[in-house]
């Protein structure tokens, strides 16, 4: 079960995952934290296909993330 982490961009719609790491710069990291996306949060991917943006369900609200951002968010199933 080691190395089960993957970028959020690779999660298929319908799956629920937990954030383990946000590998972004200070600005984006804080921005995402402001909206409640921090390590330990559970979220569900609603829609989206690479290389387009993805829609996620985060703490009861919907958020759209660009593909690049989703690449920087590491999650586990």
């Amino acid at each position: 079960m080691v190395n089960q982490h993957m970028p959020l961009a690779m999660v298929s719609p319908g799956e629920t995952v937990t954030v383990v790491d946000v590998r972004a710069g200070r600005g984006l990291q804080r921005r995402l934290a402001d909206m409640g996306l921090v390590p330990g949060t559970t979220l569900k991917v609603i829609n989206g296909h690479a290389p387009g943006p993805i829609i996620i369900d985060l703490r009861g609200s919907r958020l759209v993330l660009g593909h690049g951002m989703a690449q920087k968010i590491m999650v586990k199933v």
């Binding site: 600005g27 804080r30 921005r31 402001d34 409640g36 009861g60 609200s61």
Partner: protein
Amino acid sequence: MAREITIALAGNPNSGKSTVFNNLTGARQHVGNWPGVTVEKKEGRYHYHGYRVKVVDLPGVYSLTAYSLDEVVARNFIVEGKPEVVVDIVDASNLERNLYLTVQLIELETNLVIALNMFDLAKSRGYQIDVSRLSELLGAPLVPMVATRKEGNEELLREIVNVFEGNTTKKKIKLFYGSELEEHLTELEALISRDEELSHQFPPRWLAIKLLEQDEEVLQKLGVSNE
């Protein structure tokens, strides 16, 4: 003689801020821009029991960091415009995320009234909110509302005046950031408090937090370099 009050409406995007704004001011609105930036500024007025209230609708933000222009505008108005009362419109069905902004408004030592909007939606989702306990914890009056049906409007108007007149006991809430950070915060806070001009301009603890965060706007204003 009518007494003038300036209030600001703050809240997350989609928390019903504009609906509350429209309920309060009706058609007496004016739309312009915040000076120097292309962020819409909405202002309105209403009269209530001999008070003339000017309402400033702040941009919807998740936080008061310096991430976007909207956030800077909202923050500057609160820090520099010093509105007498800040109404924080909170989506009651999404408390966890919304209260993050509330905490920042508390740290800015604003005179807060918290509007718990979409109270019906929160109920239908099965949430039970202990309003008086939450109000106690946040140190500000809480008004459950359903802005789309104008429920809670009267109570909100009343609480705004109550807070303005100092009829509600404003409790100073201090969030504890862990002993490691607190040590530095206390140190910075003490330094800031000694500077009369600075501590008049900003709440010292808030400024200490922003300095530790290395908030760009704040650093720039104080003329501190990032290195």
